[in-house]
């Protein structure tokens, strides 16, 4: 089993003018997904992220206030899940609730230190 990071990309709910009823429906879907993964023991970690943020860049360590990308490219949160391979991770990501809002999931395999060490061993 490998760890995969699922990054949730899309506009903030705030900007969509969802009604309380729609928000509850949305949350129901998140609950269902989360519960399913927990029951299968495949979720390791995960959090939602605040919209704003800070960025520090360059040798002068210049600090700017976020958001730094177009609103539809904001990273709203992430999960770290366990899967055999990318196919397995893609399968898990099928239940992501917000595809209908135009949101996307970016999947990245977590590089494990142990393996990278083996790679450079000679």
């Amino acid at each position: 089993m490998k760890d995969f990071m699922l990054l949730f990309v899309g506009a903030d709910y705030q900007e969509m003018g969802l009604s309380p009823e729609q928000m509850q429906e949305r949350m129901g879907k998140w609950f269902a997904w989360n519960t399913k993964m927990r029951e299968q023991g495949i979720i390791a970690n995960g959090d939602a992220l605040h919209t704003g943020g800070k960025r520090i860049t360059g040798p002068d360590r210049t600090v700017t206030d976020g958001p730094f990308v177009e609103s539809k490219e904001l990273i709203g949160g992430y999960y770290i899940v366990k899967a055999e391979d990318y196919d397995g991770a893609l399968k898990i990501a099928q239940d992501f609730p917000d595809y209908d809002l135009g949101h996307a999931v970016e999947i990245r395999e977590v590089l494990v230190f142990d393996q990278s060490w083996k790679m450079i061993k000679w």
Partner: protein, 408 residues
């Protein structure tokens, strides 16, 4: 999670927070509650709080303080809102009776006489019932843009006229309460009568009217026989909601409705309310008579068993109290059922068709029914064609088309 938890929680929270921070901050309060729900969607799936309602309340209170602070720091004013004199103690606001009182205060605010009737309904659905502007637009078959404007105007009037966030008392109460009941009646009818909408929205509107009416009934100091009668009427009508429309969203006439599908618990609930409503005959309102008519229909085990003479009596009393052409039309239909054809024609002729405006098709459809019953089929077809020309609603059109084909 409980059905409509967020929607109902929205109304509760907005009214409680309005009690704490005042009607002038209503817009900020609504934004804060909205933000809090979004926070809940993000946090709850991974860590559910032990007391979700308490969490929502605390989080939205903090959010309001944030929002108000940021507004005021922009204008270079510093004030600690959590200690501001108008910020009522949160523990007081949490008492169950206080929660209900605050929702009642909001209902009376929504139905304030300074607001236009259309604004009252939109505002009530938004602020008390937690519908979004898109949902209100779809429920009232209006453009979302006009709903937004109505809400803006309502909020503006509330600010300009400096409404008190209170339940009216003394001599002012009865007229203010009458207006509240009228608004609930309209909200209910939007759900019950118009067949253009999908069944979910229809049920939500009826459900909201029922819930708010019940809230008024729980308050001993303001309830009166009219409120009981209106509640009974809502219960009686609601019990038929599922059997009124088939799976294809077509209207089923009461003659053909599956009476075993009528929801009996609601009928009994309505009956209890009706018993309380009729304790004093002097105070009978139009709601009393409408509820009595609805209950007569429910009492009949089949369409043929319907006691049309009693129904006619109720309609006559309703007409005496509140003359209008819709009631006259209903009396025509009842007279046709009673085979009192001369009386049916006399009533038909007394109706001024132009005054019926968008409901003129009902007049012509009824007249068609009359001609059909007196075996004048050519005239019946002429009348139903006029009705078909003016009817707007698709499922009502289909209903008329079916009727027409039965005439041949």
């Amino acid at each position: 999670m409980v059905d409509h938890l967020f929607r109902h929680q929205f109304g509760k929270m907005v009214s409680m927070l309005t009690r704490m921070y005042g009607l002038t901050h209503l817009e900020t309060i609504e934004d804060a509650v909205q933000d809090t729900f979004i926070k809940a969607i993000k946090l709850w799936p991974t860590s559910m709080p032990d007391n979700p309602e308490g969490w929502l309340m605390t989080a939205s209170k903090n959010r309001i303080i944030d929002l108000l602070r940021s507004v005021h720091s922009e204008s270079k004013r510093k004030e600690n809102y959590s200690q501001a004199p108008f910020a009522k103690d949160i523990s007081d606001v949490f008492l169950e009776t206080e929660i209900e009182d605050n929702q009642l205060r909001m209902i009376f605010t929504a139905c304030h006489p300074s607001l236009h009737p259309k604004e009252q309904i939109s505002f009530a659905l938004k602020t008390i019932s937690g519908f979004s502007t898109a949902e209100i637009a779809s429920a009232l078959l209006t453009k979302e843009e006009s709903i937004k404007k109505r809400l803006q105007r309502a909020r503006q009037s509330i600010k300009v006229n400096d409404f008190a966030f209170e339940i009216p008392q003394g001599p002012e109460l009865p007229t203010r309460l009458d207006r509240v009941l009228e608004v609930l009646y309209v909200i209910f009818n939007e759900g019950f009568q118009s067949n253009k909408k999908n069944i979910l929205i229809r049920k939500d509107l009826c459900g909201e009217a029922l819930r708010l009416c019940k809230l008024i009934l729980k308050k001993e100091s303001i309830r009166n026989p009219k409120v009981y009668a209106l509640f009974a009427l809502f219960c009686f009508h609601s019990s038929r909601l599922d059997s009124k429309i088939n799976l294809d969203q077509e209207i089923i006439s009461i003659r053909l409705q599956d009476r075993s599908k009528w929801h009996m618990p609601l009928v009994f609930l309505g009956n209890d309310a009706m018993n309380k409503a009729v304790e004093n005959e002097a105070s009978f309102s139009s709601y009393h008579f409408e509820a009595a008519i609805a209950s007569e229909h429910l009492r009949a085990t089949s369409f043929e068993q319907t006691n049309w003479s009693i129904i006619l009596e109720w309609y006559t009393k309703l007409y005496a109290l509140q003359p209008n052409d819709t009631t006259l039309l209903n009396m025509v239909i009842v007279n046709i059922q009673l085979k009192e054809m001369n009386e049916a024609l006399r009533l038909l002729d007394s109706i001024e068709v132009e005054k019926l405006a968008s409901r003129q098709y009902l007049y012509h459809a009824t007249k068609a029914e009359y001609f059909c019953k007196v075996q004048n089929i050519p005239q019946a077809i002429i009348q139903i064609d006029i009705a078909l020309e003016t009817v707007q609603n698709q499922s009502e059109r289909n209903f008329l088309l079916k009727k027409k084909s039965s005439y041949k």
